[in-house]
Amino acid sequence: MSGIGKYFKLNLNSTTKQTKGNSCGCGNTSGGCSSQVNEPAPVKASCGCGSTSESCGSHNEAKVSDQEFFEAAIDAAIGDERKKDGFDQVFEVKMDRRTAFRQLTASLLIGAGAVSTSCSVTTGEGTKEKAQIDWEEQFKGNYKLMTDEERNATVERLVRSYQLRKKKNINMSSKDAVKDVLFGYAFNISKCQGYMDCVSACVEENNQDRNSQMEYIRIHEMKDGKGFKFDEADDNYYHEVPAEGHFYMGTQCFHCDNPPCVDVCPVQATWREDDGLVVIDYDWCVGCRYCMAACPYDGRRFNWSTPEVPEEEVNKDQHYLGNRMRKKGVMEKCTFCVQRSRAGKNPACVEACPTGARIFGNLLDPDSTIRWVLENKKVFRLKEDLGTEPKFWYFMD
């Protein structure tokens, strides 16, 4: 699978995944399941193995060893870091005296303020709790490497922190990628009229900074008859649309399958999730903006100052990796509205589009609209020569 091949073809896993999805997955074990293979049925099909326990048994065995192999591979790759997460990752590391001393000094310096507040008898309960939360948040680990308990704990802290500060309740999810889901997106160039409803819906949904007018989506207005001339296009227009003699094309993060931004991050604060979303742990990002330089699609945004969203406009339905409130000096980007997409909804831009130019769905589900588009339309992607394998396709009616 690996090697040069991956740079040329995005493996939608349509064959392998489906057989696996058939809950039997006997495709390669001899006998027992032959009928299953011909059947193009999707995920829901039950095990077709019937009562022939031997064949099913062998298949189970194969599956287990697959699992073991996978585990072993991960262990070999990230080893310790996988087992040690969050606090363990920070505090339970083998170290020599020098690093230990350095770490202690650093922690003491940074934490002195927090500790003095939380230990003080004169300050109120709320202040103490706030300080305690800030302390734990400052020294938590990388979300990607946290266990489920640690993830829940940080989500709880963030919710409580918001409660203490703003006296309002928010709802934050840490829902993981669902199995056998790979999100993809298609954009119908013929339909887009440049209304930019997607842009405003995105800003509202994802709590983007209103001061700097940060927008994940850019709509490029291009002249008819000139082809895709991005450099002559206008991505910042304020006139009535659709403008005579123009067509429109939207760009945003393409959630590449081989994302250059992920490789360059020095601290693994950004990564590709199992369902194909490229996400950022805002609290782990150090703000070096290397990912921004590495992205060929202008898909990433930086918080140059503290982002501000009027309290009444804050979307309180949040996800840790998605639209929760950011701070200054960290990267952020489109997550295909992870808080919505993982809850089975369409991203805000798709829902807001008045022309139906935007199509979103599960690439591994053969019945999905996105799969229909990919199979029946002449689709293309931008800058395919870079080997990034975007999961964002364009097509025309």
Partner: protein
Amino acid sequence: MRRLRVFKSLVIDSLDTITQGSKKYHIWMAFLTFVMLIGMYCYSMQIEYGLSVTGMTDRVSWGLYISNFTFLVGVAAAAVMLVMPTYVLKDIDFKQAVLIGEGLAVAALIMCLAFVVADMGGPSVLWHMIPGIGVFNFPASMLTWDVLVLNGYLFLNISIPFYILFRRYQGKVPNPKIYVPGAILSVFWAVAIHLVTAFLYQGLQARPFWNNALLGPRFLASAFAAGPALIILVLAVIRTFTEFKIEDKTIKKIAMIVTVAAQINLIMLVSELFKEFYAPTHHSESAYYLFFGLHGKTALLPWIWTAIPLNVLATILLTFGKLRNNFKVLYFCCFILFIAIWIEKGFGLIVPGFIPGPYGKIAEYTPTGIEIGVTLGIWALGAFIFTILAKTAIKIETGKLQFKEK
């Protein structure tokens, strides 16, 4: 125990040395302190309001800080040009200049690290990058490579001169068996720091202006021109203001290095220009923007058209041995070459990488006052550190500062 006592006395003695000096020295140090304070004030504004106080935007996301960082990595790497002949080729000429070169490398590296930290959005969570405590994305991210090689080089360049000076301070002769392996290692290391820094940019398929195979070699050539040029200027100053003896022969040898590196650099420039302008493609737009401006946007033209003539003039003057051996001409050449390469490799390299943007958008970049303030502050910091190091080193080398058993 004795070593500790010697070390303690060394620290006290060097504190004495750096706090005493002529009036000119005090004015110089006061001036640097003042600039550093301005820089710190500017940085505090940046901490308070975020990087929005700089001229950088989502379109041009690296600017003056990273430009200076890139250039200074080259200056640091150039110390090798003095280390190699002295320690490895046993050319005694350079021995006097080596400590100065290594001091320059230390100062340049500290400036590099300061520029990187100044460029960070979240300096308070920088511990995420410390291997062991944080998550170090090695070897995938070239930035982690850079962190490793820069810190390693800093360690080498501190420890080797420290060992030599520590021995001298006690009136002993440094043992070559101890420091020569380190010196040889640092020769390779210097090439590595600069190549890795070039790879930082070279490896980005998103930015065609950087994504070319010549970037690494060109980094090396320009570094080995600008770095020793700076060393010549520094040696000139030291010769005038202290009793530290630096022979004409040494300066002439370094001038030779500068000349060859500048010539190679010029050849590579020609090769680059040929490729961009003979058969221009979509990917040549950044170069067009840099040299001629695009769609009426011409912010970089004054810079690059200052740099190119200076670069060419310096290289031509240096090429003629008669002119090169005239120290007045030499110092002038070194100065303009240094300025030219600073522009070419700083502004002229980083900013056009982002212009035009991934979709052809041209948004220009101009540094703000605060950004310039922080930058000057960091340069002052570098000069301050170098002055301290050089003053102590010279005093020990000339035998004026010695450990006295009480």
